[in-house]
Symmetry: none
Subunit: 200 residues, 2 copies
């Protein structure tokens, strides 16, 4: 889809990117002309139409200040919802953040990313600061590592064991003990499908 833009179109696109991050409202055609050193908004309009056709700018049907860039979503990116530390609610990140996730590390189902806090899974090779990829689903098989919500408030990352009448959450840290709950206390938020770590 990223067809080649002409030099001028690229210039206009770059200016729009720049402008969009600085000002709340898109510019008018006249303002654009002024900024780009053009004297004919008719010419400019033609260029912008090319960007619309290229799928980079929203179609502006007679709207004022309608020159808005289409923010094309990166299909390889997933939202980073926040931090997960054993025994605390998931701590949301202020502004919406995303991170690229290789296809290999995700599944066809909806996934999201959390950042790990703490050492509760250290013996399974999940360290403090790691990014983990979670597949969003409400059921898990025994032995899977899940994001579990306890009593509707506290989230934790543990290996799950579901027995008749009870649910056991196993940490991977010999200094911590498995936790037992009744099934109605525990709701599964997702299952671990990938993990990433930065060393630099």
């Amino acid at each position: 889809m990223n067809r080649s833009l002409t030099r001028r179109q690229q210039e206009i696109y770059d200016f729009l990117s720049q402008h969009g991050s600085e000002f709340e409202h898109p510019p008018t055609l006249d303002e654009l002309c002024n900024a780009l050193g053009l004297s004919s908004k008719g010419s400019l309009h033609k260029q912008i139409q090319a960007l619309v056709d290229a799928g980079l700018v929203e179609p502006m049907n007679n709207q004022r200040r309608g020159v808005r860039l289409i923010q094309e979503e990166d299909h390889t990116a997933l939202p980073v919802l926040g931090y997960i530390a054993a025994g605390h609610p998931i701590e949301a990140i202020e502004q919406r953040e995303t991170i690229q996730v290789p296809e290999l590390l995700r599944t066809a189902r909806p996934c999201y990313v959390l950042q790990v806090r703490g050492d509760s899974m250290i013996e399974d090779g999940i360290l403090d600061g790691d990014h983990i990829v979670i597949e969003q689903r409400e059921q898990a098989r025994n032995g899977e590592i899940v994001v579990a919500l306890i009593d509707g408030s506290d989230a934790t990352l543990k290996r799950i064991e579901q027995r008749p009448g009870e649910v056991i959450l196993h940490p991977a840290n010999s200094q911590m003990s498995p936790m037992r709950f009744s099934p109605d206390q525990v709701s599964i938020q997702g299952v671990l499908v990938g993990q990433m770590r930065v060393y630099h």
Copy 2:
């Protein structure tokens, strides 16, 4: 398809590779002529046409600045060179393989990916089967985890400690012992900058 290029064609191709990584827009034929010391764009055009026929350059149908190299490279992908197991040469993969690597997990320098075999770094959270991202360089700071080549043949992934007159490679496995070498026995192949694991 990859028929042999003539001397001039190779030269042009090389220049285009160079240019493409530096400038956003492809050059015009005139610019190319100038850069290559030609005075006839007609001649150049013929050469470029040969590159098009060879499948190395996109067909430029009357487009301005249409001299683009064909590149199907996914910029988020890195080559997977093979498996690394302590004390063996890196086992190359038959067919060239690549894997997507998030920007966060790589650096600006050239990087490649290996897959880990064995548990020698298990206590640092690097498990059998993990994919690791290696930044290609020949020097390392003490404490960094490196791909080291011992005696020119055996590759291994260890934490490095460089002392005057000796190099110590530390595994992260209490059942294994640090290994000592003289500096001329050890050559650093790269430094660990990222790690990924699949759980599904």
